[in-house]
Structure formats: C-alpha cells, structure tokens
Subunit: 130 residues, 2 copies
C-alpha cells in the first residue's frame, strides 16, 4: 500500500503526528510524535517506559494523523500496523528527528537510562482531506 | 474527573484535536476535529455519514490530543467516552465552532443533506506534557 502522493509530502514537513494506539483494556490513546516516512515505513521514536510502547508491544494496530503545517484544513491519516520495534542504541534515529524538527544534531532531551526504540509502521490504509 | 487546570486552556484556543476512535474491526482511527470543553464535557461536531460516527456509535471509547498552538512542545491528551450523540438540527453547535475557529457566524462547509450531530465526551483520564 502506498500513501496518496498528493498528501505524502506532509511527512517531509515539521508536522506533528498524533498516534492512536489501543491500551490492553481496549480503549484508545492519542499523543503527538515526530515521524518520518522512508517510502515504505513510517517511523517514530519512543522510550520503553511509555504506555504507548506497552500498547504497541501488545497490539500492533495504529493510526496516525497530521495537519499540513502550511494549511490547517489539509490533513493525512494513515492506518497501519507495527512491523518492528528496534533499539535505537546509538540514538541515530532520534538524533535525525531532532535534526528534522529542531535543526539540532543531537536530540536535546535524552536522559541517561532512557531506552530509545524506533517504531516502524507498515501502512495499510490512508484517508486525506483538503 | 476534571481536566488538569494547567492545560485545560488549550481548549480555549484554536487548537486542532486529533480524535482516536476504534473501528468495528478493533483497529484505531485518527483525524483532526474542532472541539470545545464546557467545563463538564468535550464536544465536537460530526456528520452521520462519517466512519468516525459509526465507530463512536458502536464503541464509545475515545481519546483526543492537541498541541498548544502557542507552544508545539505542550500538549494535552484526554481519554473518555461518548455520553451523547445529539442532532445539531439548527446547526447552532457547528456554527459556534465556525465562530471559534474561523471567526464566521455560519459554518461555511455545510451541505444540504448533511446530518450534523454534536458528540459529547465525558473525560475519564488525562495526560499532559510541557
């Protein structure tokens, strides 16, 4: 499944993606993340301590939506499933996200002991508006 | 349950709320909406034709998150459940949302035949950052 060409460019911008995950009790959660799309997978960073990590580790179904930072009435929603949760031991991925979103070489909020992982999502559906 | 005072003010701004709902197949959906908080319930507008309406009619569990328009690293997430889906026959509610978000007296995108409803959510939990 490929993302709609008209809206995939929202991933190239400093757009905040709201990730919906499902808790073990079956209720949804939603929170904003930085994300990128490499042409095949959507990727974002997470620490192992987060409830969102526990949700994704249990239930791989996700959805994420973002508004085009240049037009509030244009958005993309992607539905998909987590295909990998990999250690970001050298912090290469979260640092690349800090570069994209903050123009910094290193992610400034890393704390010793934080176990960073890279979540990869395979898109299975998409909706867009505007 | 009351929303955290530190972050409830995000509802007073022109903030876009990403609503996570659960589809009948158990997977999440996410999309942005206008919303307001009246001190007890969170409310947003929807048409009956939307998948999101069908999801909420089947499964009342929702989560919604928004970034503070004045600070991208400040956000509020609210979890809750739908307590009513009422007809917005006179369009009073969607017009009030157009006033808040667009400064207009009437919602400009209403089409004849659109069946507008007001969704009311009772908050059951909240998380915030920043």
């Amino acid at each position: 499944m490929t993302l709609p060409k008209s809206h995939a460019g929202i991933f190239e911008k400093q757009s905040f993606w709201h990730i919906a995950t499902i808790s073990p009790d079956g209720t949804p959660q939603s929170s904003p993340v930085w994300a990128t799309f490499d042409g095949t997978h959507i990727k974002f960073s997470l620490t192992r301590g987060r409830q969102k990590f526990r949700n994704l580790n249990t239930n791989p179904a996700v959805a994420l939506s973002a508004i085009d930072p240049d037009n509030s009435y244009r958005y993309l929603e992607v539905r998909g499933r987590v295909v990998s949760l990999e250690d970001d031991t050298e912090l290469a991925f979260v640092n690349s996200m800090a570069k994209k979103y903050m123009g910094l070489d290193k992610y400034p909020n890393h704390r010793p002991g934080d176990e960073r992982v890279v979540i990869s999502i395979e898109p299975t559906g998409a909706s867009s508006m505007g």
